[in-house]
Amino acid sequence: MPGVPTHLRFENLCRRFGRLSVLKGVSGAVAPGGMLLVTGPNGSGKSTLLRCLSGLLAADSGTIEYREEEGQLDASERRLRVGVVAPDLAFYAELTVAENLEFFSRLRRVSPARGFAVLERLGLPADRLGGTLSSGMRQRLRWAWALLHSPRLLLLDEPFQNFDAAGERTARELLAEHLAAGGLAVVANPSSLDFDHAAEHLDLGG
């Protein structure tokens, strides 16, 4: 790994919504090839943590440090670099799957090839309209979208939700390949999933 390795480190993140304190000083770190598994019951702040890490939500206090080869990235740069799978991620119902991927690949200034390759692996026809997709198909599109720009950091919130057995198997393979290539991942899930590789655990309790 040339120069300073890619890593993610967050310290003492706090976030409240009105009266409700959802994140109460959460800290963690991820190294290249490493995965941080965030578990906890519903409402414990898993999604909130991931949204803070992706830059979709500003934490009230605490720090997030994300570094890639070129150096430290601030929140706005990090937001555009990460790959995100989340239940509330939606795409354009009036566009086909292919048109959605092409649009976002133009926004990200990359070729849509990677996205289409992932789509094919997951087995999603590219000419379906976004509005006609089943929930399992939407999840496949989310994965293809997340990997479109070959991100170094994956932030996955309930990544296997709505998948059938085949879909989940393929997605696990994709995740394993990502980590084997030196990528980082933070995965949030209500329950602890079986992973082939050792994962750091962060339990947000309740």
């Binding site: 409240r16 919504f17 009105g18 009266r19 500003a58 009230d60």
Partner: protein, 219 residues
């Protein structure tokens, strides 16, 4: 120290009131005692305007600085107070217009400008009321305040120029035409200082109250 300043402010404003009615002479060309309203109407409009500028400054500091909630709170309180002072200014102006020209509302350019400013204040407060999340609320309302800041100069400069040409007999705002004797301008400036100080004194109090409310809401 704060207590002393508060007493000083009370004394100052009292002197202004006394001066407005006993010390300053009546302006020429005004009916009866009606010119006395000048000493209250103008400073309140002025304080309202200052409040808007202050809110914009605090909004800018919040948005492009460290997102300190105190700046957001200060901006919101300044707009609220600006609205209150602005309403009083509009009402006193309308009363004055009634006495002078027989009608509460004359579509005078300055009347229109202050009315639109009040609409801005109201819109800002409506926006704040429509956003639940504190961080989003601060961000959106600060952005709107700054947008208001860049747009209002057009209101205050274009309105007088354009609408004058529309009306065949422009209603001349008396401030521009009245020649003020020394004693009148003394009271007017003193009143201006007094009302501005009053604005910021109330602003300080309200910010502290609001901070307590915010702290309690977070518990």
């Amino acid at each position: 120290m704060k207590k002393l300043l508060a007493w000083l402010l009370w004394l100052w404003i009292s002197l202004v009131i006394v001066g407005a009615f006993l010390y300053a002479p009546l302006a020429k060309g005004f009916l009866g005692e009606s010119s006395r309203i000048l000493f209250f109407h103008v400073p309140m409009a002025w304080a309202s305007f200052i409040g808007f500028i202050a809110a914009a400054v605090w909004s800018g500091r919040y948005l492009f600085g460290r997102r300190d909630p105190r700046h957001d709170r200060a901006a919101a309180v300044a707009i609220e107070l600006g609205l209150v002072f602005g309403v009083f200014a509009t009402v006193t102006g309308a009363l004055w217009a009634r006495i002078m020209w027989g009608a509460y509302w004359n579509w005078d350019p300055r009347q229109i400008s202050i009315l639109i400013s009040l609409l801005f204040y109201g819109a800002y407060l409506a926006l704040r009321a429509a956003v639940d999340d504190r961080e989003t609320r601060g961000r959106l309302s600060a952005a709107y305040a700054l947008l208001g800041l860049v747009v209002t100069p057009f209101l205050f400069w274009i309105m007088p120029r354009i609408t004058y040409s529309l009306h065949p007999e422009p209603v001349i705002n008396a401030q521009g035409k009245v020649e003020m004797e020394a004693r009148m301008s003394q009271v007017l400036y003193a009143s201006g200082i007094g009302f501005t100080a009053l604005f910021f004194w109330i602003h300080n109090l309200q910010c502290r109250i609001q901070a307590l409310f915010d702290r309690r809401a977070a518990l």
